[in-house]
């Protein structure tokens, strides 16, 4: 079985700071990580490979430094890594990104065998759109299975797959067909610690570096800024509310009085709440 996992290198958003005066992102020194949602996809792919045999290819699109993310994925146990990097991809929105990735996936298929399953994470932590997975599925005409929590079985001979898919208010049990694209739900597994062998393999392996031409992309108007129907017109910091919180004085007060005062203040601001709270409390 050939499984392909799309990953993305993202800034560790927990460490992003906005400059207090200029309202611009302070990128310097922000470490990059593999998008955490992608690790659930990678682990699921590695488990399927371990159970059914075959190999796992990881693919990313990004600047040359994204090679670090791929090397890390090799260290977790992936077999092959492809970096799609070209200045023509700069400024891609989700439609242009899914175009470039789908072309590269097709090229991986020609070169190393068509993937039976393409995995992505549920979304990324920097864009949060959840659009690239469905975009790739549509372009490659793969069955789209999003928010998958579990893969109970894969039947390689019958080309069948069963998945449990999260939806509003519950889970759907679905039977579908290979090849398919799966976006993996978070919290469904835990990324393994790569073995020493994997670490050595990651250090020794060559990450394949593909330009747009290498990936077989001849229509550059569909890439990057030119291939992106959406345009970011403004970036700005959220405006703070003019009025700050009314603070209730705390020194030298016992907690009981303080609590009573807070409740009085709450009910002054929202008189209708008294009934709300009492009513709910009685339920």
């Amino acid at each position: 079985m050939h499984i392909l996992v799309c990953i993305k290198q993202v800034p560790d958003s927990a460490q992003i700071r906005v400059h207090p005066v200029t309202n611009t992102i302070m990128r310097q020194g922000v470490p990059t990580i593999i998008n955490p949602y992608d690790l659930f996809a990678l682990e699921e792919a590695l488990r399927l490979r371990d159970n059914y045999g075959g190999e796992v290819t990881v693919l990313t699109m990004g600047p040359p430094m994204a090679e670090d993310a791929l090397r890390k994925a090799l260290g977790y146990g992936a077999d092959r890594a492809v970096l799609l990097t070209d200045r023509y991809f700069a400024g891609s929105d989700t439609l242009a990104t899914s175009y470039a990735l789908s072309q590269a996936i097709a090229k991986v298929g020609e070169t190393f065998g068509t993937p039976d399953i393409v995995f992505t994470g549920k979304q990324t932590i920097d864009g949060d759109t959840a659009q690239v997975g469905p975009g790739i599925a549509k372009r490659l005409d793969l069955i789209q299975l999003t928010y998958v929590a579990k893969i109970p079985s894969v039947d390689l001979d019958a080309r069948e797959i069963k998945v449990e898919r999260r939806c509003e208010g519950g889970a759907q049990m679905l039977k579908s067909r290979l090849p398919c694209l799966i976006t993996m739900l978070e919290g469904t597994n835990e990324i393994r610690r790569g073995s020493l062998e994997d670490a050595l393999y990651a250090a020794r392996s060559q990450v394949l570096r593909w330009s747009a031409a290498d990936a077989g992309i001849d229509d550059l108007t569909r890439c990057g800024l030119r291939g992106s129907p959406t345009v970011v017109k403004r970036v700005f910091a959220p405006t703070a509310r003019a009025e700050k919180a009314a603070l209730i004085e705390t020194p030298e007060r016992n907690l009981r009085d303080l609590a009573d005062e807070l409740i009085a203040a709450i009910l002054t601001r929202g008189p209708a709440l008294e009934q709300e709270l009492a009513f709910n409390g009685g339920e």
Partner: protein, 369 residues
């Protein structure tokens, strides 16, 4: 704004100034559409919130607002049609077919893209639910148009384009995104980000019915079953009227009980900030903020939460925000309405006790049982 204004786009500044003329084949794309999310007999409330926003956009553009209702033949689908009118739609496009009974990507994408090709809307809005996100991505890629996810503000620019604003960089900044030369302009909005519009009783308006152009045999994915979430212990944070949440200021996982005790005493749902989910103290469905749930309660009490922007984005819609934190410089005091600078671990039991004293005797009796 009259529709005549739209014919003369003004030059815009910045990157949007590079705008080309909208290609001829998109020029007859008109009207605002809202996808009405119907699942297992229920319309998701986000659809009504979107009709409220869609109404404003349609009025600014001087065009009509349409609801898109896809579902199985029968009562539930027709009541969803009636609800779409009650929340402001001028007309409804309706596709009824047995294979639209439960959501699957293939038939829903086909139904949507066929409708768009036939009737050409300029704006298409969907809820950013698991269903809406699954569908929106496929529809936008099929139509090769732009899609802006998780918008927090929608407006119409002077030239009639949709200005879709969303958080970026994990909520630290906002950006406004345009889909300049493609139609429809698509956007998703998360539940509770927009206010619920007033429901009006009015007669059912114009309904335009379409047939589904695929049959069950054409659909690869089959539904084997559905496992509903057990109702007990499942959070319904997004639509709760009163919410109590805890953050790192609670110090230890066992102190979450203090926050839960308060929630129970006042009939609130409880939640937490992102770091607590990352620590495994509470499950992900309890997370409040940009990457968790957006809430819009009448009262929100945040205990030991510092108020990072990513949390703020999820709670700003609350009518009354009360913050309890030891740090007077915590950002939460910038957007809370009421604040107490004190240790939540010590204060929460006192507050729970004080609320219990104030509740009606009837409620107290029930609580004691």
């Amino acid at each position: 704004m009259s529709s005549a204004n739209r014919e003369a786009p003004r030059p815009a500044s910045g990157r949007a100034g590079t705008k080309k003329e909208l290609p001829d084949h998109f020029k007859d794309y008109r009207h605002v559409w809202v996808f009405i999310e119907l699942e297992r007999g229920q319309v998701h409330p986000v659809s009504f919130e979107l009709l409220g926003e869609g109404r404003k956009l349609a009025d600014k553009l001087g065009v009509e607002l349409a609801g898109i209702v896809l579902g199985p033949p029968g009562e539930t689908t027709q009541s969803a049609v009636a609800e779409a009118f009650a929340y402001g739609a001028d007309l409804v496009y309706n596709v009824e077919a047995p294979l639209l009974a439960d959501y699957r990507n293939e038939p829903f994408t086909k139904a949507m893209t066929d409708l768009v090709d036939a009737h050409k809307p300029e704006i298409l809005l969907l809820g950013a639910t698991t269903l809406g996100r699954d569908l929106a991505g496929s529809v936008a890629t099929t139509l090769k148009t732009g899609l802006t996810a998780d918008c927090t503000e929608l407006d119409v620019d002077t030239d009639g384009s949709l200005a879709a604003t969303r958080p970026t960089f994990g909520g630290s900044l906002l950006c406004t995104i345009y889909t300049l030369n493609y139609r429809p302009q698509m956007a998703t909005v998360r539940p509770r980000v927009m206010p619920m519009p007033q429901r009006m009783d009015k007669p059912v308006g114009r309904v335009i019915r379409h047939k589904l152009s695929v049959a069950e045999d054409d659909i690869v994915t089959k539904i084997l079953g559905f496992l509903p979430d057990s109702q007990s212990g499942k959070a319904n944070l997004a639509y709760a009227d009163v919410v109590v949440a805890g953050g790192l200021g609670l110090g230890a996982a066992e102190n979450l009980q203090l926050m839960k005790d308060l929630a129970r005493a006042i009939g609130a749902e409880h939640g937490c900030s992102r770091p607590l989910v990352q620590k495994g103290w509470l499950s992900a469905d309890r997370q409040i903020g940009q990457t968790g749930k957006t809430i819009r309660p009448k009262l929100y009490i945040a205990a030991g939460i510092s108020g990072a922007i990513q949390h703020r984005v999820g709670v700003e819609g609350a009518d009354l925000i009360v913050a309890i934190n030891t740090d007077p410089n915590a950002p939460i005091f910038d957007f809370a309405h009421l604040g107490i600078i004190t240790d939540a671990i010590r204060f929460l039991p006192a507050l729970t006790e004080a609320f219990t004293r104030r509740l009606s005797p009837h409620s107290r009796d029930k609580l004691a049982n």
